[in-house]
Each structure stands twice: as C-alpha cells, then as structure tokens.
C-alpha cells in the first residue's frame, strides 16, 4: 500500500508510491481475497477428489460405466462441478499474476490476459455442460 513507512531494520523512512488507479486497487484487493477463498475451497473439494480417485467415496474403478454412474449422483455432480469451476477461477487469477509479471508489453499483456480469461471461461463452461449431460444420459 502506498504511504510513508519506517524500515524496521535501519529506521530510515521509506516512501512507497503506487501508480494504480482506485478502481484497479479495489480489483486487486478483490482478486487477493477471491484467490484465498478459492484456495480454501480447493483444499476441501480437492481432498474429496483425491479421496474419490483412491476409491474412498464409492467409486469402484475407473471404467466408463462406474465413473458415469458415480458422477450422475447429484451430490457428486455438485461437488465436481463446484471443484472445476473454482479451479478455473483460481487458475485464471493465478495465470493473470504470471502474465502481469512476465509479459511487459502493454498490448500483448492485455491480449494474453483476455485470451487466458476466455480459455478459463470455456473450461468452466465445458465442465458444467459435461456434468449436466452425464446426469441426463446416465
């Protein structure tokens, strides 16, 4: 955060200047919070998914019929849906930070950011549509 600070090590005053607009700062704070909330959700839902792969939640094996039957149950459909959408959101914000740090050309940065967001939206949409369809065909 911009402002006047005193260094804990050398006691000299430091002036921190931020060139972000107020709306950009607000968005950044929002991203910071969402990234952490989604992280905690992924820890819980990801734990469930790992347990599922280990066969602890009722999935017998990885054959087509059992996997389809497993994800057609409403509770499992809801959990995998919530997990994939949260993963897409968390991933989108994470890739954005990487792009901000490594792609310095402003135009290229904006284009790559939009492409990343589009790809992540498509991933989330594809997962949700797939899960709904599994429920319908099972």
């Amino acid at each position: 955060m911009a402002g006047d600070y005193v260094c804990g090590g050398c006691n000299r005053r430091i002036l921190v200047v931020c060139d972000m607009s107020a709306s950009a700062r607000q968005a950044a704070t929002g991203h910071w919070l969402i990234q952490r909330v989604s992280a905690v959700m992924i820890m819980l839902l990801g734990g469930w998914f790992i347990a599922t792969l280990l066969g602890l939640t009722g999935l017998e094996n990885m054959e087509y019929a059992s996997v389809k039957a497993f994800f057609s149950q409403p509770i499992n459909a809801a959990l995998i849906g919530l997990l994939t959408v949260t993963l897409a959101y968390h991933s989108s914000l994470g890739i954005q930070v990487v792009l901000e740090d490594y792609v310095h050309d402003r135009k290229l940065n904006r284009v790559s950011l939009r492409m990343s967001q589009l790809a992540h939206s498509l991933v989330a949409l594809a997962c949700v549509v797939a899960i709904v369809r599994i429920g319908m065909i099972a």
């Binding site: 952490r36 992280a39 066969g55 990885m62 087509y64 996997v67 995998i80």
Partner: protein, 105 residues
C-alpha cells in the same frame, strides 16, 4: 526461495492439468469408446509420468498454499520458520505423492 518459483511453475502445470480434467469429464459425457481410448493413453509410460507429475504439483502447490495462508494470518515470517515450513511442504508433497500412487496401484 526455490518454493516461490516452484509455486508458480506448479500452478501453471496444474492449469494444464485442469484442461486434462476437463477433457476427462467431457469424454465421460460423450461416449465410452472415446473415454476408453483416453484412459488407454493415460495408461502408457508417458501418461503415467504426466500423472505422477501432476499429483506432485498438486500436493506441492497445496502445501505451499497453506504456507501462504499462514503468512497471510501473520505467522511464520522468521527465516528459520520459513526454512522449516519450506522443507515441511516439500516433504509432505513427496510423501503424499508416494502414498497416493502406492494406494492406487
């Protein structure tokens, strides 16, 4: 120090892994023959290397994510604490990956 760049690289690797998870779900929703071909592809040596890599990336990103959350709460900033939690995260990731594959195979 090393974990900072590893957090990023595992994050990017996991973004690609999410794409694989998406393909998997879409194929479950499509038909059994496409799904079986995808599973056969995973059951190659190259496929197994990728899967082990992704599980390790998941557990390391997970453990280091916990470190970040603890830092956000204002704990563990001292050099010796950060060093110890870094080793703990790496140890956890290696152990969890080994345990996971020991259980599924």
């Amino acid at each position: 120090m090393v974990l900072s760049i590893l957090h990023r690289s595992t994050g990017v690797a996991l973004a690609i892994g999410l794409l694989m998870l998406t393909v998997w779900l879409v194929l479950i929703a499509t038909d059994s023959s496409a799904y079986e071909r995808f599973v056969a592809l995973i059951n190659t040596v190259f496929g197994h290397i990728l899967m082990v890599g992704w599980t390790f990336a998941f557990f390391l990103h997970f453990a280091n994510g916990v470190r970040h959350l603890v830092w956000d709460l204002g704990h563990g900033f001292e050099k010796h604490q950060a060093d110890r939690s870094a080793w703990l995260a790496i140890t956890f990731a290696v152990a969890a990956t080994a345990a996971f594959w020991w259980c599924v195979t």
